[in-house]
Symmetry: D2
Subunit: 382 residues, 4 copies
């Protein structure tokens, strides 16, 4: 076995949510070893968080810049860094590591503004380091299966794409209570101009693009802020027109009671349809036109190679969110190891990159502009 | 028991679909007796169809005008007529009966054009006869339950309404094969300017209105005709803005493989949500914010008075499409009997009327206009 | 159209439950006309109930024997009678009509005792009249589909049959409250020796037999009366051994909270499996070994001739309990009309007969005996 | 953070299935470090497997006895060992480690024979080391939730327990093909006297016991071997009688096409019911008598402390099989660390122990004996 990849982390200290997810995801397939961290912008909290994780105190940093400089100079410094801060910190942090040749694994959305996102994209072009965006839902085996089936033509020419991501946790003004996750996700300075569109709409958009391979022509959006005083959208209604003629609808909401993380994708072509739901991720409905609906299960009959490559346990033993997330980390590990060894990665590289990240931010930007202009048809500024 | 209502029928001969449904619906609660018919515009077919149904040959007519005249003069002529023709014939037929004081039970959409729909509305105002539109999905007990819960404030202020009605039967150019149902439903002269919007979008729109009680402010629509050569839309994407600030999305499609009659309504307020699906009509999900989801079943615990009034059998014994349809007929019967007896109907009168019908046609009209103007926000011309 | 069959009814007056179901079932396809009734053993209630139904008062009787005698002599007397009384009255009533050549449509179970059941079977042999037992669940289209698939060998050799029918309505001692349905169904004198086994276990047993065609070799039963003071079983656990080697389990319960009428059948052979649930009757899962599960829908793709013959409306428009019940009535009507006209019935005659009824009572009898002997393997006394 | 627990593994080399699951489970919460292994009884394979896992070659052993001796003497030898061999090797391996004070984490069932199981239980009594049995399904959060609700009296007095675990992977004689998993699991010398009863019936029995807390009084079993030539049962039908009067049914099968790992538990008391399915593990149905069914979701509303303690991610982001398995490992780690530090474990210790293991083997033994005696009621020989 190759040596595990030495990993640092920016953000993810005590009270954070997504940092712990990244750490488990990195651990599941044993390809990474967390050795350093700038876990909080508060030095004491960073140190305490590092101690929780068993890190060597000398490699727990007060800020990411210090970490990038020091780790970049260490003989056995980190090879990769996971950036799990609020959105507006993604780019400044990533730039520091990229310029030192340290691979970046970054949470989504890529940036709080399109300008920054593009700046990061240019930096990626100049760097030898890899940039991986954790649009984790693309890591689910049955999402890979769906993509493989569309690519194989099982659905024929795609006509209609219905994607939605409703939640309910912001049905009240939770941000007023000081809840940390709610606070930064509803603050335009930290989260960007889009609220639900940025936080979950980008996931919905990304998965639709990932599975169908269709490029967007233009969109028409009607965004709302239902909770009084909320500064960003908490509900987005978007109509989509894809190049080549397919049409779609995207709905994201954080004010839909009874919905936890109900990301759901439905794709219809002239030969058949597909339906997938994130909350029941081991199932994929396939409906060939004129035949009974078929329920394809992860690792079960009808499940093909693309899903098989990211599957750990037999059918009927459900894999979940963490395993899907781990698949992104493990595919990134293969690319990092290939880079380390000067070889080409084995297998298809499917993890999302900075390009997907820029497109996600451009999607939010276009939604906001379209909505301001009365849902006018609007193109992405890529 | 009061004497059964003597019923005539226009349309619904051999090869027709919806006529048979109306006849069973009329029979289930034993309130009607079919005694006359102009079942087809082809005289031989009308007679043969009448014989199939055991009608007295002297009361089987070659055309509806003849029937209206003769039955209007008979001492024991029909009190009510069911009109189950293609859309463009609804208004001409209805006018003949209304002017003779014969109650009309008419299939939807009300008319092929908004002009005709309004003409009928005016005729209804001038007539003492009742006009009942069979937006049958409003007859399902759990739709009544949903409406009652919204009205009672169980959901709080409504914010988001997601409604959809996908089918797949027109995924190919079935109309080219001469299939009768496909032929008239895709012919603008018979069906009107809207295809899927008229045939099923009106149902989706109507049920959203019925349950929420919200009035539409404006809509933005993007209609498509995916099947080559098709003259009307077979897919409609519509964004909705309701008076008072609620937002919605409506999707209707006849080209979504795997969907049979997947009408589905989801309503979200600041206190909770509701979800209902026509294909599993005995269930209603209620999701009070911050509590576990609850599955209310027809006639089961949590099911209230509005549902109870239109329920026949105990919980766990499913009622279906025909029973929901029968509920419209039975409520119409009560109104007709009340009219006959010069009294007020007992209970709430909930069946759809000409007003709902005009609004449905105005909805189609607005969708078509909006789509032609690039999904511009458009008001109904009521 | 042939003249409708003149029907009488025994039982089914005010406060009864199943009588109303039979009347709707008889009406749905317009093959019957209810013209006479002995609707209650209380003369006033019988008359009042007859008036509710619009019956001619001269044909409303105080008791079934009087009705059988009078109607048997009338020129246009009833051709058939529906018996919808508590169980112990089925046989005495049926005998009166059978001996006068009046066809009998009888609710299940056939009788309260095996002795009586066999007496009735002998009477049926001696009579020209038909005897139809309303094991209504066999009327569901997808149950017909399942049976057709097993017969066609789609499942291969059957190995395992799992059938269950849980309810919850007798979780408390409802009979103590005087609720009429609970009272007679828990009184051994009216219901027979089996409680849940007789009321719903017979349905479960019947549907397993109907779909698989397997004959029972022996059973081992463990019956319980969980509610204190209850005189009959309210939960039955039964292991089944079929001739030829297949094995099965049957569970019936009236004390399982959350279950309304959750009759569910699962059949597994060496080539595939089937699953069907009464509460979602328009779906049938088919699982060919080594292939994805398929969801066959009523009237949809994959649905064959046997289901099609008992289907009224297109796929996606659910049919329910009443339509399934009506299918038994309509098939009985064809047999009755054929008898009237001295011809063979068209199509397959699939309605349950007295033989199925005797077997159902023998099943209850065997369960009770087995349970008393410590779940000893026990054969039916047919 | 405390130092990670040094872990060895017996079995789990190339071609094995469950070893990889144990390794991920041990890794997810970062409490263990795999440092040694006797991964196969074939020395070359053991070494190659160790290399795959990045183990120090000097700590890869040819057999478990050698590993127990060497690691027991090392200063930094393993503190715990995971035993993931076929069943008949569990006891001989466990004895070697227990006698050297090395904690044992062992796959189920505990042993191939009851004699051996009891021998191991006695050895556990004499050892200071812990013994943990990986009845992993008890690690699912919603199983913990169910147990907590039963204990809190939410269901009232338990009356009926329905548990089943059907699979389909042994529907053909896969063992004849040389497939390794099938071969040893159908060989009585390696697997024990029970086939499906030992492999999956023990899981079903264990989870019913874990959730309800009820002790078994006796059982009556009918076991079958449907596949020709199979030497152990591949289908088990079992009736259960619990102390205190509750009754149950248990079904396990490996010949039920369409079932992957469909472990499902339903518990009914006089106040309500619960339903849980392993393939959809994040949901728990709760049905309080006389109220609508409630769907409790992992980490969502209605989910309590017991579930919360073994939950990693927010509601709507599904956790799966590996996380449930990891919960057993992590609870074992707390007990091991407490032992290391001479303190009491914090929180409730809920992992299954040797006692559960003996009971599982006694369950299989009783099923086999009962079945041989014609399903006679049989007690466990504990």
């Amino acid at each position: 076995m190759a040596d595990r990849i030495k990993l640092g982390m920016v953000g993810g200290g005590r009270d954070a949510f997504i940092g712990g997810v990244h750490r488990i995801a990195a651990r599941i397939d044993d390809k990474y070893e967390l050795v350093a961290g700038a876990l909080s912008s508060t030095p004491e909290k960073s140190q305490a968080s590092g101690a929780d994780l068993g890190l060597d105190p000398s490699r727990v940093y007060d800020d990411f810049r210090q970490m990038a400089i020091r780790e970049g100079r260490l003989k056995a410094g980190i090879e990769a860094v996971a950036i799990v801060t609020p959105n507006h910190m993604h780019v400044p942090a990533a730039l520091e590591f990229l310029r030192r040749g340290i691979h970046v694994i970054c949470d989504k959305p890529l940036a709080a503004t399109l300008t920054e996102a593009k700046r990061l994209a240019r930096a990626c072009e100049r760097s030898d380091a890899l940039f991986v965006l954790t649009h984790n839902y693309t890591g689910y085996p049955m999402v890979r299966q769906a993509r493989e089936m569309v690519a194989a033509g099982d659905l024929g020419a795609i006509r209609v794409v219905q994607v939605e991501y409703p939640q309910d946790w912001l049905s009240t003004d939770l941000e007023a209570s000081g809840q940390k996750q709610a606070a930064w996700r509803t603050d335009p300075k930290q989260t960007g101009a889009g609220g639900s569109t940025g936080d979950i709409g980008t996931h919905a958009y990304n998965i639709a693009r990932f599975v169908t391979g269709l490029a967007l022509e233009e969109l028409a959006a009607d965004l709302s802020s239902f909770v009084e005083g909320r500064q960003v959208d908490d509900n987005g209604h978007v109509m989509l027109r894809f190049k080549g003629g397919a049409k779609g609808m995207l709905w994201c909401s954080q004010v839909a009671p009874g919905n936890e993380n109900a990301l759901r994708l439905r794709v219809y072509g002239d030969k058949g349809g597909l339906e997938w739901s994130q909350e029941d991720p081991n199932y994929l409905w396939h409906t060939p036109l004129g035949e009974p609906k078929r329920l394809i299960t992860r690792a079960g009959a009808g499940s093909g190679g693309a899903a098989g490559r990211v599957t750990r346990v037999p059918p009927g033993h459900p894999e979940g969110y963490l395993e899907g997330f781990a698949n992104i980390y493990t595919e990134a590990a293969e690319a990092i190891l290939a880079a380390r060894e000067g070889r080409k990665p084995s297998g298809e590289v499917t993890f999302p990159t900075v390009t997907d990240g820029v497109e996600g931010v451009a999607f939010v930007d276009a939604c906001v502009r379209s909505s301001q202009m009365g849902a006018r048809w609007t193109k992405l500024r890529m």
